[in-house]
């Protein structure tokens, strides 16, 4: 870098010094920007943890909200509700997502595969509130809210995530494995189900977990589909249920500091879940990719 040291002179020319200064300035700006991003992450997680952890208690996890004016109470119904909504949504999205990925990577003619990929990308780019309104118009108008309708909305959000993640893993499966199976006389469908899919199961799983982490924090699709809920724990997906993100949304808009404390505690639960799952699945994905590639 510093080869050009001002025409054999031992002192740097003014121009070179300015160039070096500009270089230094830009490098420090880039470093500052990266540090700032990490600092914001630490700041957000820190304030959620600091305010949220203190409000956690046994009651918080096992009881439903206290009636107005009384202290205590918990969010058991929101926890169960989120579990039901996200679990059901995952069950809807994952099989279809895997099938789409299989089509794109194993069966589709190139042009059609590109088109399918485009559809997935566009679906992924849609604002989640629009998906909420779509499901509202399709399923809620006339028959009311229900947990499974929220699941359906979340499934639409998860679908492109699962499909793209799966498809990327399928692309990593060595062609020699497929050729080996075909050369042994296996048919295409047996090759796909017996060789390609089992090889990529780890990657598909981590991709799914990432999609779950994303879906668990989505609020907008649930506003229209499962928000008006009774204050009781219910596992029935035909009933509207409360969910963690929606509860945070409502509590954060409230003027009561006690509500804010509960919102922080819920935020802490949600952010812990999301960060732990996405971190571990990311790590597993990296390791898995290395194994397939190397």
């Amino acid at each position: 870098m510093a080869v050009d040291s001002g025409r054999y002179a031992l002192t740097l020319s003014r121009r070179t010094r300015r160039r070096k200064l500009v270089n230094l300035l830009m490098q420090s700006l880039a470093t500052i920007a990266a540090l700032a991003a990490v600092a914001v992450l630490a700041l957000v997680i820190g304030s959620v943890a600091q305010r949220g952890a203190s409000a956690l208690s046994w009651d918080f996890f096992t009881k439903t909200a206290a009636t107005f004016g009384q202290g205590g109470g918990g969010v058991a119904n929101a926890l169960v509700g989120s579990f039901v909504i996200v679990g059901l949504g995952t069950a809807m999205a994952v099989p279809v997502g895997i099938l789409i990925a299989l089509y794109v990577s194993e069966f589709a003619p190139p042009g059609v595969g590109d088109l399918a990929r485009l559809v997935l990308d566009v679906l992924n780019g849609l604002p989640s509130i629009i998906i909420g309104i779509f499901v509202y118009g399709l399923l809620v108008i006339g028959s009311g809210q229900a947990a499974w309708k929220g699941s359906f909305a979340l499934a639409i959000i998860m679908l492109p995530l699962v499909a793209r993640a799966t498809q990327e893993v399928l692309a990593l499966v060595p062609g020699t494995l497929r050729e080996g199976a075909l050369a042994l006389g296996a048919s295409r469908w047996r090759t796909v189900l017996g060789v390609v899919l089992p090889t990529s199961v780890g990657g598909i799983l981590t991709g799914t977990v990432l999609a779950v982490a994303r879906a668990a924090g989505e609020t907008a699709p649930l506003l229209f589909t499962t928000s008006i809920a009774a204050n009781a724990v219910t596992w029935d997906p035909r009933q509207p249920v409360l969910s963690i993100p929606y509860d945070i949304f409502v509590l954060s808009e409230s003027a009561d500091p006690a509500d804010h404390a509960r919102a922080w505690a819920l935020g802490f639960v949600l952010i812990s879940f999301v960060l732990v799952t996405s971190l571990t699945s990311r790590l597993l994905l990296v390791r898995y990719r290395k194994r397939l590639e190397g």
């Binding site: 870098m1 050009d4 160039r19 500009v22 270089n23 830009m26 490098q27 880039a30 470093t31 920007a33 990266a34 700032a36 991003a37 990490v38 914001v40 992450l41 957000v44 959620v48 279809v96 789409i100 299989l102 089509y103 194993e106 069966f107 589709a108 059609v112 088109l115 485009l118 566009v122 679906l123 780019g125 604002p127 989640s128 509130i129 629009i130 309104i133 639409i156 492109p160 199976a181 006389g185 296996a186 048919s187 295409r188 469908w189 189900l193 017996g194 994303r214 924090g217 609020t219 506003l223 928000s227 008006i228 993100p245 949304f249 954060s252 949600l270 952010i271 999301v274 960060l275 990311r282």
Partner: protein, 325 residues
């Protein structure tokens, strides 16, 4: 592995039944996966169709003038989207204005400067920022960032830059500026991770060539990396824009549900998406619901345009690159 298949002795012809089974299996799996892919396309079409169907009463009643009319009068059922389009445009553009240079800088740091060992760690930390649910970011925005903006940042900006209309007006804890900052935090991880990958994709020969000619690192960045990745970076910025205009929850939490069109960043406002999130339960008349979905239709059209443009740029870019190598 399919042990049964490999165990078939090669001297014997396969039984006829199996071959038919295989042919049927191939066809079935092909059909099934194809149907799933087709379902995704149908779903996309259905979303657009349903949104426009729900909005149709408002579209026929207000026509295109809806877009240029101000005010959201629920009592007289007179609705217009101009305030909200203004709010959406102002918040997203200013957020992009901040996020773009920051994202490029982070991308450059991660691809060129960061020490090798820290590189992946910092990159995944930045990506974790994108994993924070928007509702949690909104909670933080309303209770931590908002008060800071209202009592420290805005008075400071007003004192020093008050002559610019953007920084006029009296400071508030909720408003455009808080929304802009929250949106910036949401966009930066997305754009910066795309930028990083683009920068890493620049051929090393070009970079080394510039360095060998005596360029400083920054001159190499300005002369080689940025021109080489310009189209890709613009696509990344567009994708960030698509994310910013569609964000409903966090913006609703911090923007303060104001109305009117103001140049000041300090005042409360509303965006297309936040209006939808606010009024989801309060809608009383059918025409109000239809008008709300009209907002969603506008949002849908804009976000489709933005995303398709960005995706086509990305596609063209990757084709060019694979063509070159």
């Amino acid at each position: 592995m399919s042990a049964r298949v490999s165990a078939v002795p090669s001297t014997h012809p396969l039984p006829e039944r199996r071959r038919i089974g295989d042919r049927f299996g191939d066809l079935f799996l092909h059909g099934l996966t194809g149907a799933a892919a087709a379902a995704a396309a149908v779903l996309l079409g259905a979303i657009a169709w349903k949104i426009f169907q729900l909005a149709w009463p408002a579209i026929t009643k207000f026509g295109f003038a809806f877009v240029t009319r101000q005010g959201w009068d629920t009592i007289h059922s007179k609705f217009g989207a101009l305030d909200l389009i203004w709010g959406t445009a102002l918040t997203s553009f200013v957020a992009l204005l901040i996020a773009t240079p920051v994202s490029i800088a982070i991308g450059l740091y991660l691809s060129e400067l960061a020490p090798r060992g820290a590189r992946t760690v910092i990159a995944s930390l930045v990506e974790l920022l994108a994993a924070i649910p928007s509702v949690v970011l909104g909670l933080w925005g309303i209770l931590v960032l908002g008060p800071f903006v209202g009592t420290d940042l805005e008075p400071w900006l007003h004192r020093h830059l008050g002559f610019i209309p953007l920084f006029g007006g009296s400071p508030e804890n909720a408003g455009m500026l808080v929304a802009i900052l929250v949106l910036t935090i949401m966009i930066v991880p997305i754009t910066s991770s795309i930028c990083r990958e683009l920068f890493l994709g620049v051929p090393t020969e070009l970079e080394q060539g510039a360095i060998a000619l005596g360029a400083t690192r920054w001159e190499m960045v300005r002369g080689v990396i940025l021109p080489y990745t310009r189209t890709g970076v613009s696509a990344a910025v567009l994708l960030g824009f698509g994310r910013a205009i569609g964000e409903a929850i966090a913006v609703t939490q911090v923007i303060g549900a104001g109305h009117g069109i103001h140049w000041s960043l300090f005042v409360t406002g509303d965006t297309l998406a936040s209006k939808l999130a606010e009024q989801y339960q309060g809608a009383v008349s059918n025409i109000q619901i239809a008008s709300l979905v009209y907002l969603a239709a506008i949002l849908l059209v804009i976000s489709l345009l933005v995303n398709l443009t960005a995706l086509s740029i990305v596609r063209r870019f990757s084709h060019e690159r694979t063509g070159e190598s």
